[in-house]
Every structure is written in C-alpha cells, then in structure tokens.
Subunit: 473 residues, 2 copies
C-alpha cells in the first residue's frame, strides 16, 4: 500500500460515519471472492456509504488523492467487474447499506430505489402496488439495482421488456471527479442533451458510481401461461419461434431453449426436476405468454400448437395447467447451470446472435466442436427469443478434466470467431469486466473502441473509477 | 470565407463524385431556411454524399482542415439544429441522396436504412412486410432516419413504443475524427462496452454524422380503435388517463389532449375539421387503443367509458366506428398547429412533466398566465400519456401582436421556471439546437453539463461536428 492510499483511507474514515466503513477482515473477506470463485481480490478497507452524500465524500477524497475505487453491489457478476484490488490498491465501496426503496409511484408507473436495493425487493415492491418490474434473472435474490444498471443486466424477459437500459428512466451517480449528478427523473421525454443515463448503464462502474435510480414499472399481466415444446433440430426451434411470434405478436414474455443433453443434466442431478414429455427429442423450448385471461391464451396456444404439429415444426408439446406445473417447467431451465457442475468441468460463453442467424450458427458450430474435441458435450441454452445463448461446453463423460481445460482457450477462440463471423456478440449480457478485455480489443469495431477510450479519459482522466475493467487505458 | 474553408471545398470536390456536391445557389437556398422560417443560414457549397464512404471522405477532409460541417436530413427541426453557417463557415452535408431502405428482415423484425431515408418510406416499407415501425410525427413525410435519430424524435406513440432511442438497434456513423464506426447490428443483447448508439441518438449531429441505422420493427396490431372524450378539468383528464391505463394496460397507443380553445381553432380554420361532440367542454382527449379485434377493444372501451361517466371523470365520449371516423378525430389533433397560425402570433414551448404532476402544473400555470398577460389564449395540447405538452400561447384575440411578442420572453421564462419546479423538461422532444442553449445552461444539472462538455471535447476536440448546437464549447 502506498502512502497516498493510506492517506485516502484515513481521510474517508474522518469524513463519514463510523458505521460506514470497516477494516475488519472477517467482514471484508466475503466481498473479495467473485461469484464463480475464480478470482481472489484484496482490500484492507471497505466503505459502506449510507447516503449519496457519503458516497460523494468518499469519491471526492479518492479523486483528490488519485486513489482508485471499486464499487460493489451484490457481487454476482461473472466477469470480475466487482472484484477489488486485483491489479492495484482500491477503495472497495459496498453499496449494501443504501438499499431503500425510496418511492413507488403506482399511478406514474415508476419506482425509485437506492443502488444497494436487491432486485427481488424491487420486484416485490412493484408487485405490492399491483405493478410489474419485469427484469428477471438467476441472481435476483442477491444482485442489486446498482449492479443491474452497471452491467445492463438482461435475463429472461428482454424480448418483451428490453434490457436494464430500457427500464431506467433516471439516475443519480457520483461522477469520477466527485460531482454528484442528479439525473433522477421519471420523464419519458427529455431531449436536453446527451444521454448520460444510457452511457452509465453498462459502464461497469468505470464512469462513476451509481447511487440511485428511477425505474420504469409496467401493468401486471392479468394472466400468464407456460408451455413446453420439443423439436427435431435448431432450425425447427427457430421456425417455431417465428411462427409463435407471428401468431402471438408481442404477447411472448420468454422463449427459452435447451438441448436434450441439458435436460438430462437437470433431470439426473436435480431432485425437483422431471422431464415434461415422455419422448426423446434433441431440442426443448420453454414458452411463456401473457395476456388477459388464462383460458384465452391457452386457446391461442392450442391453435398454434396444432398448426406447428401439422407442419412438422414441433414434435410434441404441453401447456402447464397450474401455477405449480408452470413452476416445474421453469425449474428445469433454472436448474441447468447448477446441474452442469455435477457433470465435470465446463467452459462457458455468453453469446448473442442475430435471431435470424442463430439456427445456422448452432447447426454449423456443434459438429465442428465435436471434431475439435471428440466426446465434448455442448450444452447451449438460454434466451433464444432475443438471440442470447449461454453456449456452455461440458467435458466428455468421465474424460480427462485437465485435457479439456487445456483445450478450452482454443474452443473459446473458435466460438468467438464464429460468433463474430455471424454478426453476433461475444458478451451478450455478462459484460467485459476484467476477463473479457482481450476479446473486446479483438472484436470491437476500432472506431467504437477509440470513442470508448476517449470518453473514459474525458470523464475519468486519472483512471480511478473501477480501473482495469472494460478498458485498459 | 477563409482559405482553409476554400481548401476544404476544393479537396471535397476532388474526392467525391461530381453528382455528390453542388455550388448552385438555387439548389442550396431551400436548404438554408429552417422549418419555422425564422433562421436564415448560409453556405456556398453543399455536399450530398451517395455512400458512407463518400460521407467519410468529406468528414476526413473537414477533420484535416479543421473545417466545420453541418449535417442535414429533412430540415424539419424546430430548434435551428440543421441551419448551416449561422455562426461560422460550415460544409453543409445533405443526406438526401443516401435514402435507400437497405434491408427489411421481417422474420427478425428489423429494418436497415440509410440516413436520408424518409420516415414515411420506412413506415411503408415495414407495412409492406406486415410489420410496424411505430414512430409517428407531424413531419413524417419529409423528416429522415438520420434526423429522427439525431434528435431522438418522439411523437404520438412514445408511451407505447418509446422514443427513437428505443427503436434503434444499431448505427453506422462517421465520427468527427473521420473514422467510420460500423455499429450496424440487429442484436438485442450486446454488452461489449459503452453505449455509443444511445450517445449519438439525440446528439443533434454534434458527435458525428449518422449514415445508416438498423431499426426495430414490431408486429402490426390486428385492430386499432380511436375514441374522443371530454372532461371538465385537467385533473379529470389525468384521472381518466390513470383509469384507462389501469383498465387497458399496455394496449394504449396514444393519449392526446387539447383544450376547447385549441379545438375551436381547428374547427374554425380547417375545412376538414368538425367537433366530434355537441356539448361544450374545457378539455378533450383523443385515445387510441390497439389489440386483437375491433369488437373486443370497443367492448372494453364501452365498459371503461360507462365507469368513467358514472364516476364523473368524463362528461361525454364517442368511439370511432370506422377508419374514416378515426381519421377525422386524428385530423383535429393534427390540424391544431396550422390552425393556430390563423389566430395571430404565438409563442411555443415543448415541455414534459412527470405524468403525476402534469395536472397540477397546468392548473397552476394557466391562471397565472392570464394574470401576466390578460386575454392571452394558452393552447396546451399534445402527448399527455407521456407527460409531453406543446404548451403554445396565442395572442389575445384581435390584440397587439408586437406587445405580445415583446412579453413572450418573460412568459417563456415563467413557464420554464415552473417546468423546472415541477421536475419537468424544457425540451421534451425538439432538442436544444441553437435556440435553447441558454435554457440548457440554466436548467441542466451542473455535473451533467460538465460531463457533456467533456464528452464533446473528447470526441470532437476541434469542434467541427455541427458546432454551436447543443453546447457552446
């Protein structure tokens, strides 16, 4: 630790409440390991501001001393964006104490929350006012408003409601120079200058610290129906999607897919999971539709399914007849990541593709992977409705873990090359963090990269706001 | 004209096709007056690139010589953003020759167009593929893709589909340094760095020249119904909105309002306009709802209207029973701006308010305006569903035009003060351009202004990209 770093810590201690910081190792330690357990951070000091004003004081002191800070929400990120002290001394700023829902304006369909509020708490607050906050993802029980904003989180309902960027109306943030930007606003139309809000959403903490947000709420759907379908090939899966979209219009909430391998992982390892249909089919689809009444949706789905069966696009299908049956279908989808752990080591990719090219991509890549590593078990699954696949690869059954992990970089490079060739993204929803910076340099448009660097240098000239994430300056 | 400016012109002439530039005064002149006829620009030379490559060459030459350029789409802006040469020598770049619809991907629900494509052409192209491009505004017959993007255009369907920023999936643009950024992409999820797209949307040409865009299409609603309602006060108008939203959920496409004064302007001056209801009511509402079937929507509306009548929220209402009847209702709304001209001079404000505060704002401001200028005829109208009002003020009947125009700045200052007090925006959809820069400095958050300036300087250090618009550097 440098003298400047120690000076920063002492100044922060003097500036904020004694409850708003800690040097206790036991308290800090759980904040230093990333969700996947692959990165080990370090930090002798953790600030836990209880207000925007305290957050501002902390960053002002950091700015004066040119000391780096690392914001942290629920620490559920998957790319090392919130692991403090990996490369340099950093003031870890945990937002967990700023977790209030400041206001729910049911009539105005908005909710204002502090950055440390848990996503599930936001969903519940909206629901208790008969409103919907539609963002939904695996870590919703622990991820925070600041985290979903800084990573532009996606999840299962993006095709209907958009990513986090579409759900944020206003922001409050401390800029890297220590200025507090009050951009909290419920305004739908406001053309007074550049869209700073969208810039901070997805900036992964590198352009300042988000402290509060005004979020957009929606009417709660009166009815929601879940169904499960099976298909012979990925092309049939995507043909089914086109047909469903054509027939149901904007009523589709989620269109999730998985392979038979993925389904068998879930069924074999998770006690709560049972196969929804008896036959063996290579591809499975989970479809969620909302509307005015269950019976009306079911009726529409039955018409759609008989058409799809007749046209040989799907092989079988079932509509959940109860909330329990619906939850059972979702549990298959949600159990997949955890179930995969029991099948040995795996390599993960969070990619997206133009929806119209997803089938061709999968059809081309799967056999090539098997050539490159015989016995490999690809487990692509995810949000096919918005082109986003979690393209995970499991090692061959009872195979050599080390050999598989050794081959992993080449397999990943092949996948990213193909993603690029098909016009897709190598990071659909997880972001860049510390672990995907080299892919960013390889695949991002050069003019865009230059503009990003210029913006980072302009807003954070001393590179103190979550440095080493997204861009190396 | 400086030598550098002349040099730039000669270099551009040598670099692009002879059809891609002109010095003919008759050709250039119509491009130099703004839509409202209030600003007179000047430009001895106009570039009309036929490709992104030519656009890039032009800007590379401008960048080398530190010569300013002024992009222009349909020249329908209302804040002087596209009037060339007001303060400095500028290369006028008309995008009108880059007007192709490059691709409609109906299955993928996207459309890619060049920047000079007319909005109505985009709407038609979508419709011919049984898709909807929902952005709709008065100037759609002449405004362009590049223009709606650079101004983040809004219009009548924002409450359902969002502003232009929500409808752009990908962009191609020439950055002020001459680099061509290829950000064209149909991807819904792509978390690979800062959101440059949202930054260029609404930047009014100050951060580069938009050359192409991939836009988001939607399913065409199977049915659409228009209705007209009358209410006793602005509070009833907004109570009606809450009730309609509660009852119809996300099915409301548009919720437009006007006063009896506005309605009488339209009826008195526009031959196609007739009052839709016989009684006299101070406030009028145009409601557009879409869904699966006309009969189903009408049924829902009838239930809603009888509830609203019973609760004394509305006084009367009528549902258009045909496409013609629906068009008649819309013609009242659309005729308002033009009809106002026949009533003498007026002062216009394009404001937005939090939806929950709109009624209080109007209720407070209207009587004060009458105190400040007795006889004044305020004609607020517009998109109440998203909080956006065109808060126009007409002179007293047969009053002194000069006296009214002399008082205008004070009346505007009062309105903007009150908008600020109620948490609103002084420019909801028209932008800043050259004429609202002082309001931006007065009302914009200081940290946001500092960040905007830093971004402008970072991306356009020589201040050549549409200089003097949005920010004075």
């Amino acid at each position: 630790m440098t003298m400047a770093f120690n000076k920063t810590i002492e100044q922060i201690k003097a500036a904020i409440s004694p409850k708003s910081w800690t040097e206790d190792e036991n308290t800090i330690t759980p904040h230093l390991v990333d969700r996947r357990g692959k990165l080990q951070g370090r930090a002798p000091f953790m600030a836990m501001p209880n207000s925007s004003l305290e957050a501002q004081k902390i960053i002002q002191i950091c700015a004066e001393n040119e000391t780096a800070f690392a914001p942290q929400g629920g620490n559920t990120g998957l790319v090392g964006g919130s692991t403090a002290g990996l490369n340099t001394d950093e003031i870890l700023i945990s937002m967990k104490r700023m977790n209030a829902i400041a206001e729910v304006d049911a009539a105005g369909f908005t909710l204002t929350a502090e950055a440390g509020a848990i996503l599930a708490t936001v969903q519940d607050a909206a629901q208790s006012h008969d409103r919907l906050f539609p963002l939904s993802l695996a870590s919703q029980g622990s991820c925070t408003v600041g985290g979903i904003i800084s990573t532009n989180a996606g999840g299962i309902h993006v095709m209907r409601y958009g990513t986090t960027r579409h759900l944020v109306l206003g922001l409050e943030a401390v800029m890297p120079n220590g200025q507090l930007w009050n951009g909290l606003s419920p305004l739908v139309k406001d053309n007074t200058g550049y869209d700073l809000k969208s810039l901070l959403v997805g900036a992964e903490g590198t352009l300042g610290l988000v402290t509060k947000a005004t979020l957009k709420l929606f009417p709660r759907p009166k009815a929601m129906v879940t169904a499960w379908l099976c298909a012979k090939s990925i092309h049939h899966v995507m043909d089914c999607f086109s047909a469903a979209r054509e027939s149901l219009g904007g009523a589709i909430n989620a269109y999730e897919i998985m392979t038979d391998t993925g389904l068998s992982f879930a069924v074999n390892h998770m006690p709560q999971c049972r196969a929804p249909l008896s036959g063996n089919y290579p591809w499975h689809i989970l479809l969620e539709v909302s509307g005015d009444s269950d019976s009306r949706i079911m009726n529409q789905l039955e018409i759609l399914f008989s058409d799809l069966l007749e046209r040989d696009i799907i092989q079988d299908g079932t509509i959940a007849q109860s909330g329990k049956a619906s939850a059972d279908l979702w549990s298959l989808r949600e159990a997949l990541s955890e179930a995969q752990i029991s099948e040995g080591v795996s390599v993960k990719h969070d990619i997206s593709l133009p929806v119209g090219k997803l089938a061709d991509f999968v059809h081309t890549v799967l056999p090539e992977l098997n050539k490159k590593f015989p016995g490999i078990r690809p487990v692509p699954f995810g949000h096919a409705g918005d082109g986003n696949l979690h393209f995970n690869l499991s090692q061959p059954k009872a195979g050599d873990k080390k050999a598989f992990l050794k081959a992993a970089p080449l397999l990943s490079a092949y996948i990213y090359e193909m993603v690029n060739k098909y016009g897709g993204s190598f990071s659909a929803e997880h972001g860049i963090g510390t672990i995907k910076k080299s892919e960013l340099v390889s695949y991002k448009d050069k003019a865009a990269l230059a503009a990003m660097r210029a913006i980072k240098k302009a807003l954070d000239p001393e590179n103190i706001s979550n440095p080493g994430r997204v861009l190396d300056i």
